[in-house]
Amino acid sequence: MAHPIQLGGIDYAILLIYFLFVLGIGWALKRHMKGSSDFFLSGRSIPVWITGLAFLSANLGAQEVIGMGASGAQYGIITSHFYWIGAIPAMVFLGIFMMPFYYGSKARSVPEYLKMRFDEKTRGLNAIAFAVMTLFSSGISLYALASLMETLIGWNFTFSIWISAVIVLAYICLGGLTSAIYNEVLQFFMIVFGFAPLAWLGLRDAGGWAGLKERLVGVATDQHFAPGTWTESWQHMGSPGANPLGVEWFGLAMGLGFVLSFGYWCTDFLVIQRAMAANTMSAARRTPIIAAFPKMLFPFIVILPGMVAVALMRDHHGGFTLPPVSATDSSPNFNMVVPMMLAHYLPTGLLGLGFTALMASFMSGMAGNVTAFNTVWTYDIYQSYVAPAKSDAHYLLMGRLATIFGVILSVGVAYLAAQFNNIMNLLQLVFAFVNAPLFATFLLGMFWRRANGHGAFFGLLLGTLAAAVHHGLTLPVGAAVGIMKGGWLGSVVHTYPSAMAQNFWTALFAWTACMVVTMGVSLATAQNKSDEQLRGLVYSLTPKPPAEVEAWYRKPVTLGAIVLAATLVLNLIFA
């Protein structure tokens, strides 16, 4: 079979030059890596526009780009809720309310904050779960990259894995977190410049927004939805049956908008590490808010091509098709939307730019996980339990070694994923259970001084358990009982209209359980920390920072209000 993407000489030249620059940045930063804090925290010295773009980019891995394109085709503009409801409010909340405690506590990682605020066992639980998760995510990124390269352009699986692993390894070992952050900014611009022409050409081809709307009517009515379902984000959220997502507005707002979104953006060290590298408290607070501005506009770059693709496929316009899922399943593989659109619209030259952007986003997704892993491993596991009180040079060396074995383990995971895809899906399900309750712990930790170590620890455990039990007792409609789909506890108590709805409600149950248990156990046991120890970690015990004398465009609250208002306007326009 011919491969969908045929690269020309100029395309290879762009790819090669990009990776030379990536390695060059690592090399140039090498002499700045004098101590462990340079390596893991970038010496807290990065300007805010860079941490902001890196904050955004660390999340903008290829799974995101590819997944959002696929969802754009399957669900239409409703996918933008993952941005406008599922990201922006949480990013603004993190910047305004939570960052003062993360940055101000001088904690070097999220688990370390948990230790300062609660106790050792809570930190240990979080650190170990997080370290394992990052390694698996990094390996899954690598696997996804290599299998995509194999289908797209015919590169050998092993070749793709090792070449990407070696490049990521090299630039992180050389320049640590700074190198990862700088390359994330490079990757951000590559994604924007590589994919924007795709969105523009696609929209042009579909006859502009009006033309696209018209074409998508058929897509919606074919599936028995109201004509505007693919192009109106709110009008069909009244009941789960009225939209392809299978969720109503309440489940969406609470499950995605509140628990899942805040749980990810406000507690995941992978993104927060970028803000912690900022050079001042004000910059750290502005980091997620500055990231929210481009984030707000990303649906136009990543979701729109998916919407165009599904319209073109229905009309058999320009011969655009998607390959089937597999030899036995002939339904279209929506994960191929973005790569196939690249091949369809971009001539050699720009194709190289788009292809490089795609590859770069896989690698920076991996690099983000590796830098978060080496920090948590070195500070929260190695320094805490294995070898405390060693010299700083020792920990710097450990950071580099952790990077090497982190990358090697990721490669192992990638091969494992190629062999046992089901195990990987199961692991991701378990990770979702572990993550779901976390935001309740941080919310109570930062805003309720009475929350204590026992409360946090048992809240997390029982929250995870609640997620598993809820999943075990419910099932999406039409799915067979099984460990992946749910209902494995013997009886199905409730049937959801879609797997997405089941996810959202699983998260809500986990969050509520964690909240209730943490409060109950905290009230039943004594506070293990004195007020003095909690200063700077809890809202009511932290002195208010002096009134900011900065210009309005540097104030986190003002910027946050602007981005929220702009998001509201977008929601209204595309309601």
Partner: protein
């Protein structure tokens, strides 16, 4: 840290822009049938070039101001 990211950003995108512009001028117009007849290499190359040069200019201006 005296490492200005705008410098490599500017260099990279000026280079990509220049490459695409030159390629857009020299390439066979037939390859643009996929992009609806637009010579996107030429057009987008200019956009990249403008972005790259702006970054370079900002980086050099900052460097001059420091010294």
């Amino acid at each position: 840290m005296n490492f200005d990211l705008r410098l490599p950003l500017g260099l990279l995108f000026s280079l990509f822009g220049a490459m695409l512009v030159v390629y857009g001028l020299l390439s066979d117009p037939a390859i643009y049938s996929v992009s609806l007849g637009y010579n996107v290499n030429l057009d987008w190359g200019f956009v990249l070039l403008a972005f790259g040069v702006t970054m370079l200019w900002l980086a050099l201006r900052a460097r001059r101001n420091r010294s």
